[in-house]
């Protein structure tokens, strides 16, 4: 039986079973609501725009932890500063190219590989043609590509399927920090939606608290939570 026939059979089976193939929930309903597909869509390239120390990587990882994508997690680490301690329980591949062209090539290879669930790359400047190739590679591979870029590139043209801007909010405590996530641009929809999230430090399930809840932390050490503090926009 031809591979294409098998692929069609699998898609048909997924439709019949009612599973929404290809969309990975972030685990945060408030964040899902502002995303165009209601989660991370397989085959998408997502850009996270943030300043250093803003918390974009932390938030991105927690959304992936909730969805638990099946497959390899590939971290392309050109700056050799990646410290994926939180990902040790996962099957993780770290790629450390030395030249810029090798970085572009490695990211494309990882995006194109069907066995890679998430391709993760902090990178500053990338030519548009390379971003376009990455977008096509992500579509072909079916995984999720996450690029972490400086906030300054917000003025540049976007080739990614989704562009999110993460801004830290100065209301952190010993056990938590607050960030504001805004959809800068996305395919097929207008951007501009934003939500504020509170990231806690401790291991446990992720849950969302209603908007009326008091977000002040209790005195005891709280469980690991991702709280929706307020919806903006």
């Amino acid at each position: 039986m031809a591979p294409s026939t098998l692929a069609e059979l699998r898609v048909a089976l997924a439709k019949q079973t009612g599973s929404r193939a290809g969309v990975l929930t972030t685990g945060i309903p408030a964040l899902n609501r502002i995303l165009p597909e209601g989660g991370w869509k397989a085959g998408n390239l997502i850009e996270w725009l943030a300043d250093p120390g803003a918390g974009a990587c932390d938030l991105a990882f927690r959304t992936l932890e909730s969805g638990s994508p099946c497959g390899l997690w590939c971290l392309v680490d050109p700056e050799r500063t990646g410290y994926p301690l939180a990902a040790l329980d996962r099957k993780c591949l770290i790629v450390r190219p030395t030249k810029t062209q090798e970085v572009w090539w490695a990211v494309e290879q990882a995006l194109r590989c069907p066995g890679v669930a998430v391709t993760w790359c902090p990178i500053d400047s990338v030519p548009e043609r390379v971003l376009r190739r990455w977008q096509l590679a992500a579509e072909a591979g079916g995984g999720i590509g996450m690029l972490f870029r400086p906030r300054q590139v917000i003025e540049q043209r976007a080739w990614s399927d989704l562009r999110l801007a993460v801004t830290p909010v100065v209301r952190s405590s010993r056990f938590s920090r607050t960030v504001r996530v805004e959809v800068v641009s996305c395919r097929g929809r207008l951007g501009g939606q934003a939500v504020m999230l509170e990231l806690h430090h401790a291991p446990d399930a992720v849950r969302v608290v209603s908007e009326l809840d008091n977000s002040t932390l209790a005195a005891e050490r709280p469980p690991f939570t991702l709280r929706c503090v307020g919806r903006v926009g």
């Binding site: 039986m1 098998l6 059979l9 699998r10 089976l13 943030a50 300043d51 250093p52 120390g53 803003a54 918390g55 974009a56 990587c57 932390d58 990882f61 099946c70 497959g71 390899l72 590939c74 700056e79 050799r80 500063t81 990646g82 410290y83 994926p84 301690l85 990902a87 040790l88 993780c92 591949l93 770290i94 790629v95 450390r96 190219p97 030395t98 090798e102 090539w105 490695a106 290879q109 990882a110 590989c113 069907p114 066995g115 890679v116 902090p122 972490f148 801004t167 830290p168 909010v169 100065v170 952190s172 010993r174 056990f175 920090r177 607050t178 960030v179 430090h201 401790a202 050490r221």
Partner: protein
């Protein structure tokens, strides 16, 4: 014996601490290791072979070899010394026949050199098990109160076959040297090599790729007959001035011509061949059995993904080098830059990875996503000399610090070559960014070690 039984034999309250460790038995690996020892022993004699009976012995036919080592005694001593140095506990015997040698090595005195004609006298006190008999025959002899070879020899020979079968008499004659016996010598397998040479040099990458494919196809054809695949390939390309070696390593045995050729092309992109290539030589260094998997009509994504991941790793390693394609491994070390090691993906995974060391601190400071390989010195202003930072200057930019949590003291032991004593702070600047700073008590300075991205 079962593991539980073995553990029960350990003393409950030993006078000295008993360290125990265990591994699953692997007869195949044991056999391969013994085979390798037999091949290594070909430095003493060209004829070495495995023991097909107990599968735990090797035979060396030293006919004509003793003089090269200064006599039989010296040869025996050399063999024992060399193998003992490799960590093996061995028993040896040097006799005229295989059966006698087996009996003396297993049940006699180790290191015995038996003169010719003394086989019977040497075998008489040994147990009947020294004749390499089956358990059934030994049990029958035990029931008849025949415990030693001497007692067995006193039995009428004509009755042995009818009573115990042909095996007993055969083994007895082999041990006494009456019946000639041989072993199958171990041979080094023929190297798998394909080569090409020409008077005109190849300068174009496509020409190199074409020749490589031709040679690889020849090599894979040899492997196909054995149902094995390539695991490691050694390519030598001779130019005018030098011989360039291009190693190719795979994650698992493969016989895909197109994939391996692609790996070669990716590897050659990083290399120069001044003057062109005059000769090509491919040698298969390691091969392995091909594992055929039953395909499934649906839901076989897991198997397909595993194969795709292996191929991705091989492609990345070929172009970027094995040291650039890594897997993270936790190390029980308090120093952040040492707590996470990155080992090559194609290298063997650590057999016993250390449990991840997390400092049990009340303030529950998590580790940042970015940790600088070398901490960078920063300018910090603090209200009190040993207090938390209040202003940070890094790469020409200044931040006011809104909050600081810490300190978390991390220090190395005095037995380390370097003495480290650091007080770590997680700081939040006025715009909400969070950094990981530490004050080095030894050097009395502040450093940026990570960013909470």
């Amino acid at each position: 014996m079962p593991l539980a039984e073995a553990r029960a034999l350990l003393p409950l309250r030993p006078k000295t601490p008993v360290r125990s460790c265990w591994k699953d038995a692997d007869p195949t690996a044991d056999h391969l290791a013994l085979q390798q020892i037999a091949i290594d022993c070909q430095r003493y004699t060209p004829l070495t072979g495995m023991d097909e009976f107990g599968r735990e012995s090797i035979f060396l036919d030293i006919t004509g070899c003793a003089e090269l080592f200064g006599g039989e005694q010296n040869l025996l001593h050399t063999v024992m010394r060399d193998l003992s140095r490799r960590g093996f506990q061995i028993r040896t015997a040097l006799t005229d026949g295989i059966g006698t040698a087996w009996a003396m090595a297993h049940h006699g005195q180790s290191g015995t050199i038996l003169p010719s004609g003394n086989e019977q006298r040497a075998l008489e006190p040994l147990p009947t098990a020294s004749l390499r008999l089956s358990a059934t025959v030994i049990e029958m002899l035990e029931r008849l109160a025949v415990h030693t070879v001497g007692e067995l020899l006193r039995l009428p020979r004509t009755l042995l076959t009818s009573r115990f079968g042909p095996e007993l008499l055969l083994r007895l004659n082999q041990a006494l040297g009456v019946t000639w016996e041989s072993f199958l010598p171990e041979r080094l397998s023929m190297p798998l090599i394909a080569q090409w040479s020409a008077d005109d040099a190849l300068t174009d990458q496509r020409e190199l790729a074409f020749v490589f494919r031709q040679l690889l196809a020849e090599l894979l054809a040899q492997l196909a007959t054995r149902r094995t695949g390539l695991l490691e390939l050694h390519c030598e390309l001779r130019t005018e001035t030098e011989t360039v070696t291009v190693p190719l390593q795979l994650a698992e045995p493969a016989h895909d011509l197109r994939h391996i050729a692609q790996l070669f092309e990716l590897t050659c992109e990083r290399r120069q061949f001044p003057g062109g290539v005059f000769a090509f030589r491919l040698k298969a260094l390691r091969i392995g059995g091909l594992h055929e998997r039953q395909g499934k009509l649906l839901n076989d994504a897991h198997d397909r993904h595993d194969q795709e991941i292996r191929r991705l790793v091989e492609r990345l390693s070929s172009r970027l080098g094995q040291q650039a394609v890594l897997r993270p491994v936790a190390v029980a070390d308090p120093l952040p830059e040492r707590a996470l090691q990155r080992v090559p993906w194609l290298a063997d995974a650590p057999a016993d990875p250390a449990k991840f060391y997390v400092p049990a601190v009340e303030c529950c400071i998590s580790r940042p996503w970015r940790v600088l390989t070398t901490p960078q010195p920063v300018q910090v202003m603090a209200v009190v000399p040993d207090g938390p930072p209040r202003r940070l200057t890094w790469q020409g930019q200044t931040w006011d610090i809104h909050q600081a949590w810490g300190p978390e003291r991390i220090e190395s032991g005095w037995w380390r070559a370097w003495d480290i004593q650091r007080d770590y702070y997680r700081v939040e600047t006025a715009d909400g960014s969070q950094f990981w700073l530490f004050r080095d008590a030894r050097r009395n300075g502040w450093f940026l070690h990570g960013l909470f991205d």
